[in-house]
Each structure stands twice: as C-alpha cells, then as structure tokens.
Amino acid sequence: MSRPEEFNIVTRRDFLRGAAYGTLGLAMGVEGVARAGQGSAFAAEEPLSQVVLVRHEAAVDAGHQVNSVVVAEMLDTAMKAFTREGDIANAWQRYFGPQDVVGIKYTRCSWHRIHVNQAVLDAITDRLITSGVAKSRVTANDFGLPVKDCTALINVPSVKVHALTGIAVSIKNYINFTGNRTSYHFNGSSKLGETWLLPEVKGKTRLIVVDMLRPYFGPGPQINPLHQWDYKGILVGTDPVAIDTVCLSICQKKRNLFKGEEWLISPPPRSLATADTVYHLGTSDPTKIKLTRLGWDKEQLI
C-alpha cells in the first residue's frame, strides 16, 4: 500500500511497510518488508553490483589491536576475489596506472574515534606502489586531500551508525570535500549523494575499501564502548550505495542482537535512499547486490 499523496511526509508506518525510502527496510530486515519472488537479499544471480566481504579472526586481537599483516592479507584476498585476478598487482592495475595521481580519502573523526585503521591505509598504499603507481603520486588524507589534482580516488571509510545520518560509510566519507559539512546534516542528510557529483570529485572514485574491523552501532554522538565491536571485516567494491547497504544490514543485525529485539537504526538513512534514487550513485536494493563472503564466518550477520 502506498502512502497518501496528499501527505508529503514519510512516517514510521510508511517506512515499515516499505512504502518509503526505497528498499532500505528490506536491507534492514524489517519484518513485513521482505517480499517473496524478487530473489534473495545480497545473493543476486544477475547483480547490478558486487561487493566482497573478507573477515579474519586474527585481524583484531582480544585487546582490540589490529594485526597489520593479517589486514594486508585480507585486502589481497578481497581484491583478488573482486577482480577475479590471480595476481595482486594485476588486480590493482585494473583500476590504477603509473599515470594516475591517487587520493586515498579515509575517515579520521578525531572526536568520535571511529577511525580507519593505519594498517588498512598502509596496505592500500603498499599495493598501489607495488602495482606501479609512484609513491610521490599517492596521497592519503581525511581533511585537505588535494582532490582537484587527483585523477583517481580510493574511498576508504570506517563504519558507524550516526545520530543524524543513520549510517556513515562511503557516501558520507566525501562530506569534507564540500567545505560546508554541517549543512549536509540537515533533512536526514538527504543531500549527501551530491558530494559525489561535485566537479572535482565526479567520476574519480575507482575503488572503495571499507574498514569494518571495529564498526560502531550505537546512537552516538560520542562513542560508548558497549556499542563498538570487533567484526574483523574488510569490504571491497565500486558501488558506494551497495557497499553502504551491506554495512547498514550488518549494523542493523548487530543492534538487534545487542538489545534482544528490533532496535531500528534511527533515523533511517535517507541519504542512502536518495543516493540511489536521486543521485543514481548505485543500488540500495539487496536483491540486486551480490555479496561474496570469504573467511571467518562467525557472527557474519549477513
């Protein structure tokens, strides 16, 4: 049942029925939204987008310290699976060449502390260099990345449920390029997709590598350690909407597990729906996404 046209308001009821925000309800596993006959979520036979998830039990130890050697192996595994290349240099050369100036845009939110781990950045930089991009042509930064001068971008976000945006992964990672971050937090952050279409940014993103080693699923705004967990995952893809949808689904399941009942990510990430339907950055429909899962499968949550 669609919502009445005379009300230009999306309510909780609309969302829970799947009558608003596209297929987000399906991705979040909302009871009653999943529809039969459209294929299984994240197992599309003819996918619009592919995402690879690699997990490793030894990626993070009991003291929450990240193992850089294991992380580098995980990245190699993910890149080989995503590109179907047997050789890691060939895999990276699919996206980057010696002529490129590569910007690695990572997330480093000093006050929130859900950072991209240095081990992930080091592994990416190392593989870029060994695949033929000169070290002097690779820059990694959160603020101040010289995006104008870059011919190619790698989007490297962390994963956190966000009090204003719903969830912050790859789409929100470009908010710093706007020069006016706060203005993008209003209206359900629905304009975030616009950041990918800024003249200096549009068309430059060749790869997305998500650090999902220690994601955050709480209400924020600051970190409560009870709401961070060692998922020990790395995701690779090229469709930001599909990648963020996978992360959304995992975080929603973790919230439900934590509370022992449905604890909806709130507000629902409208920015993810508009990134699909307004800005056409990719697909948020789980039935059009093929997720390849590799490695450690305990509490995979998807």
Binding site: I9, V10, H112, P221, N224, P225
Partner: protein, 276 residues
Amino acid sequence: MLRLPQDVLGWKTDGPDKVVTRQTIFDYMDGGGEIYLAYDFQRLLAREYARPGAPRIVAEVYQMASSGDAYGIFTHDTDGQPVSVGQMALYSAGLLRFWKNRFFVRLQAEDETPEVKTALMALGKQVASGIPQEGKKPSLLMGLPPQDLIESSIHYFHTLVSLNIHYFLADSNLLNLNSSTEAILARYQQDRDRPRLLIVRYTGPSDAKAAFEQFSKVYLRESPTGNAVFGKLEKEQFAGGRREERALLLVFEAGSRESAEKLVDLAASRMKGVAP
C-alpha cells in the same frame, strides 16, 4: 563554573584545556553538536590526562542551561551499568557518564584496565563533589505511570532531532517539537507487550491541539473523537493518544486498544499532579 582537577591517581593533566562554546561546538564535534544544542548546551571544558604506560583519559564537563537538560542529555544513551556518582551515573568499559545540577560529565579512557576504572571513578567523584548542589529532574517525569515502567528506557528531550534518534516517527516535525516543548519517551513491559509512552508538553493548549490534529490526520489517518484517537496499525499493534490541556499523551506499539487506552488514562491521571 567548570572545574576539573589537575591530577588523579597518577594521571596528570596533559596538554592545554579546551573550552567549547555554542559557537564552536561544531569545531569540536562536527556531526554531533546538534545533539548537545538540542539540550541548550552552554559551555564545555575538556581536559586530557596521561600517565606513563597507561591509557589516556579525556574528561569533558558540559554545562547546560538547566538541570533538566543535564538530565536529558544523560538519558540520550542509557546503555551502561548504573554506578554511584553525581545524581545518576552509568559506567561502560572505560566510559563514565553522570549528571549533577546543570552539568553532564563524560570521562572516557582510551582502553579499560582495572586501574583506569578506579581512576575514572575517583575522578568522577572528585568532579561531582566540586558541583555544590544537586539539581531538579524535569517535573514531567512525574507523568510516567510507575507500574511496569522500564526505568532504563526513559529519554527526556525537546526537539525532533532527539525524538528521531530514539523513535523515528516521521521525517517532518509531525508533533511540532521545538526548544520550548518538553517530551518524555519511555517503555513499559506488559506481559508480552512493550508499549511506548510519549508525553509532550507544549507552552499552551493551542499548540497541543494543533499537534494532536496533525498527528491524528497524518500518522493515524483517523479523526479524533473529542480529545482522543486510537487506531490499529501494522503488525497488529495499536497506537493513539489523548490531548490533556497543553499536553499530548501518546502510546505506540500497544498489544490492544484497551491496553493503549489504559496507559494513556494512567498517564493523564498522573499529569494532573505534575507541576507546571
């Protein structure tokens, strides 16, 4: 009057203090300042402590405009173990939060160790003792019927940004919440059902009436009978409520119309004794 000690159990002040105002809150926490401003945040003092070979500690003292708002921001995240510091406190794996009077305090360590936990508790008690008086909780809390109430589920707030974090109702301001409105959201455990009660108090009856009519029309898609409206929604759940003078008493996710009406009746009865 924001105070922090210079040292605690071997941890000493390390680096300059930060003083954050309403104007600079977004520099301190972009993407998070909205939450504090929604509770009439005034000022913040932040200090870091270090001890060789031990995790660092960040202490933050938030001064809000009222004790009600300090209590409110404390209820933003209610996950943690209750401990005895200030007027109410929660501890969770290296994070101690408490409120007292107009102050909300967060003490967070990089990692949790037994020594860190001891230091956080000592620091918390020292900071709390430096705040001379206790403050009043919001009087609106008295409107919550105590039977079957899940204490840890209580959230006190003013505006849409807070409601949408705790319970997304709509992407627009359906209840016309603003900095002058007061709201409480809480859950109840009634056998298998866990209904939510939302009490909103407006500055005047006309504001409450307008919000009630909008809620009835847009959310329930029902016409109120007098000052009350209830409806059966998705998942065999019931929602609805009543307007009482300048307050709305709304129930969501009730297992039956009768239980929804009963919870609203109980709240209405208690609201008669709530101070203005």
